[in-house]
């Protein structure tokens, strides 16, 4: 027994390059991608999103930008209430001579702006607030969550409407209003996740090896609690446009902006007299947008949630 201390262990058998962390991560991402792509409805959603994104990115080439402000609908007062198929106005024109095709194409840009800004702002704010509440707990948690409760007690749409109306009709105010309303959802999700992840034994194990609190948060807690936030963010990319269009429809963004909700509202007066096109095409775009992100969001949830695996 005495010479056991003198036994030298052989050095690791081979010193070849180890699979690096990044290689492993790339592999995992590929696995995840394959998992997501195996679901046909998700692929459909991704295809629609790709189409809409392409439309937003290449908008200046698809419909010549209006001078001086491309986000304003061009007005052709010589061609009012033209049906689809009119030369120069493929999808027809509105009561005020706005080109529906232009509105549809440039509306995808406004929608993308709206959803990206609102979702990234709310995810960041919500994650920070939810993390502080969940990680620190105690009275900090109590105070933050009561504030969140106040926000949650008013229905999303009505609250956003109230804020937007208070700030005055403008598209940027819609962005502000939606951001102020939606962040609480992420704060809630994040807090619940963190409290759940904190119970795991590997958090204790990380403490046992002497990890600092901030390291435990960034390496052990955050990566393991972020998935539901990601799924919710994807779903919200669609929902935000839906609510934004609703607010625009009521007239809370400036008139004449190339935005689907505004266009629908501009065309709705004509529906009764048979001029269906001005509302239908932008309405269809809103529908496609919301549908696509919901399909992808659902697919993402299924792919990321191990419980639904192998269905």
């Amino acid at each position: 027994m005495a010479d056991i201390s003198q036994t030298r262990l052989p050095k690791s058998p081979f010193r070849g390059p180890t699979t690096s962390v990044w290689q492993v991560r790339v592999l995992r991402m590929r696995e995840l991608a394959a998992n997501i792509l195996s679901n046909p409805t998700t692929v459909l959603g991704l295809a629609i999103i790709g189409m809409l994104l392409g439309m937003a990115i290449f908008a200046p080439f698809i419909a010549e930008p209006n001078i001086p402000d491309a986000y304003q609908m061009p007005r052709d007062w010589g061609a009012v209430r033209k049906p689809p198929g009119t030369p120069g106005h493929i999808l027809g024109t509105t009561n005020e001579g706005g080109d529906v095709f232009y509105g549809v194409v440039w509306g995808s840009r406004t929608s993308l702006q709206l959803s990206l800004i609102v979702v990234s702002a709310t995810v960041i704010i919500g994650t920070i607030v939810g993390s502080i509440a969940g990680f620190l707990g105690g009275w900090v948690d109590e105070v933050l969550m009561r504030i969140v409760d106040v926000f949650l007690s008013i229905p999303e749409l009505i609250f956003a409407l109230a804020i937007a109306a208070m700030l005055g009709p403008s598209f940027s105010n819609i962005i502000i209003a939606l951001s102020m309303v939606i962040w609480v959802k992420y704060a809630r999700i994040m807090r619940a996740q963190i409290i759940q992840v904190k119970q795991n034994e590997y958090i204790d194990a990380a403490r046992v090896i002497g990890d600092s609190k901030i390291n435990i948060y960034f390496r052990d807690i955050l990566p393991n609690s972020f998935t539901p936030v990601m799924v919710q963010a994807t779903l919200d990319m669609g929902n935000v446009v839906l609510i934004g269009a609703t607010l625009s429809f009521i007239g809370l963004s400036e008139a004449g902006i190339a935005e689907w909700g505004v266009l629908v509202s501009e065309g709705q007066a004509g529906i009764a007299s048979g001029r269906w096109w001005a509302s239908t095409f932008p309405g269809l775009m809103i529908f496609l947008w919301a549908l696509a992100f919901n399909l992808v969001g659902d697919g993402l949830r299924d792919a990321l949630d191990p419980r639904t695996e192998g269905r």
Partner: protein, 439 residues
């Protein structure tokens, strides 16, 4: 008898690596204060494996977790007592092989910082450094965790982070506690100046934040960072090799869910023993494993313990297992120590009625088929207990004194202490009657 002796504490503290003294941990609950651990005292001697056995809820895990301040303190209350830890160093005379000056263990006590070994009030006059683990600040505690005291958990599947690779998780220990060695192994001067060296130093102790990570991935620092990563790879591979894992280099890139239970537990052990700790707290490390794997993990723990000269606090409810690997055993019941002694004494000469009941309840190949022996009754509620022996109501040898007084832990033989009035008289005023109750 030995009734005047202090219960089973080591004669000199140089021999003990940690000493738990009258530890009391309570928990607030809706029905009152639960006395989970209520006055537990024992010591862990240098190089030994001390088994802490008892049934579920007797406070053995709470005791183990108290060593590292792992209990959530809003519901939990540190009601009293202390856990003194005596950090050890490798003996300089023999380099850890064992010699006369280190009494054969290869380790010596680390000198007290206040008096540098000459003896003072701070170290209790013996010159050895001692740390009260319960009163340690969080930063000091963090430095002890994983470095001087490590812990293995029951379920290795839950104790590893599912989103990090094995390399990252084992490497974390080195980054937290061995950044100097890591820098040295990577050939980076630890005392170099300049912002680049600063970032590398921060990287080596896992302190890099935000943009620094980006800078490390860019050319001037990239090659240095790669050296650091390779050095860390080597350290992690060596730690994994120690646990006899097949093909450690390949395993390092894997995630916990890709490993079997036995392999995960080996990874946990590699992580725990990476920094060569003085004390390993093993909280039922084999309960979640099947029996064949269990045997191999146990072998591994005892082998590594011998090689690293680590003392082990082995928490378990499995008596046969404890008998196999422990030098001494403490039997806990309802937040108290019922009996403590060498494995031999506990298993061959059990004195406490509870220990006897436990041992009688272990089925062996020789025991008759049919009903298993059991201790009648059930574990008492630990909410606001009255002063009495915790085993009253279930004990076959109950006396009048048992219901009104707490029996203290007192020696019945060298190294063997029991808390029971059968073995030492109850305090004055009580009328002892040692009549054995029937049934």
């Amino acid at each position: 008898m030995f009734d005047e002796n202090q219960p089973s504490l080591a004669a000199n503290s140089a021999n003990a690596i940690a000493r738990v003294d009258d530890l009391k941990v309570y928990f607030n609950s809706k029905r009152g204060i639960v006395h989970s651990v209520d006055g537990v005292s024992f010591d862990i001697r240098d190089g030994e494996t001390l088994g802490l056995v008892g049934e579920t809820g007797c406070g053995k895990s709470v005791t183990g977790r108290s060593f590292l301040q792992l209990l959530p303190m809003p519901p939990g209350i540190q009601a009293g007592g202390s856990i003194t830890f005596y950090p050890q160093g490798i003996c300089e005379e023999c380099g850890g092989k064992g010699c006369a000056s280190c009494t054969g263990t290869g380790r010596t006590s680390v000198d007290c910082e206040a008096c540098s070994g000459t003896g003072c009030d701070a170290c209790g006059n013996n010159g050895a450094q001692q740390i009260d683990l319960l009163k340690l600040g969080s930063e000091k505690m963090r430095r002890i965790r994983g470095d001087r005291i490590a812990m293995i958990f029951q379920d290795p599947g839950k104790a590893l982070n599912p989103s990090l690779t094995i390399r990252e998780q084992v490497g974390e220990v080195f980054l937290q506690h061995r950044s100097e060695e890591l820098l040295g192994a990577a050939g980076i001067a630890t005392d170099a100046g300049g912002w680049q060296a600063n970032i590398l130093r921060r990287k080596a102790s896992q302190m890099e934040r935000g943009i620094e990570g980006l800078l490390l991935a860019l050319p001037p620092l990239r090659s240095q960072r790669n050296k650091l990563e390779l050095a860390l790879d080597d350290m992690v591979a060596d730690a994994l090799t120690e646990t006899q894992i097949a093909n450690p280099r390949k395993l390092m890139g894997r995630y916990p869910h890709e490993l079997s239970g036995g392999m995960r537990q080996r990874v946990m052990i590699a992580q725990a023993l990476a920094c060569n700790p003085d004390l390993l707290i093993a909280d039922e490390p084999t309960t979640a494993l099947d029996v064949t794997v269990q045997a191999r993990i146990l072998e591994l723990i005892s082998e590594l313990k011998e090689r690293h000269k680590t003392s082990v606090l082995y928490i378990s409810h499995d008596l046969s297992l404890v008998r196999r690997i422990c030098d001494r055993v403490a039997v806990m019941y309802a937040g108290r120590i019922a009996e403590i002694g060498t494995t031999e004494q506990i298993f061959n000469d059990p004195r406490h009625p509870y220990t006897r009941g436990l041992l009688a309840a272990v089925p062996t190949a020789a025991s008759k088929r049919g009903e298993l022996a059991a201790i009648k009754g059930s574990v008492p509620e630990l909410v606001d207990p009255k002063p009495s022996c915790r085993f009253t109501g279930r004990c076959l040898f109950e006396t009048e004194a048992c219901g009104t007084f707490d029996p203290a832990l007192q020696n019945v033989a060298p190294n063997h202490a029991v808390s029971c009035f059968i073995h030492h008289p109850p305090p004055e005023g009580a009328r002892p009657s040692f009549d054995t109750k029937t049934s």
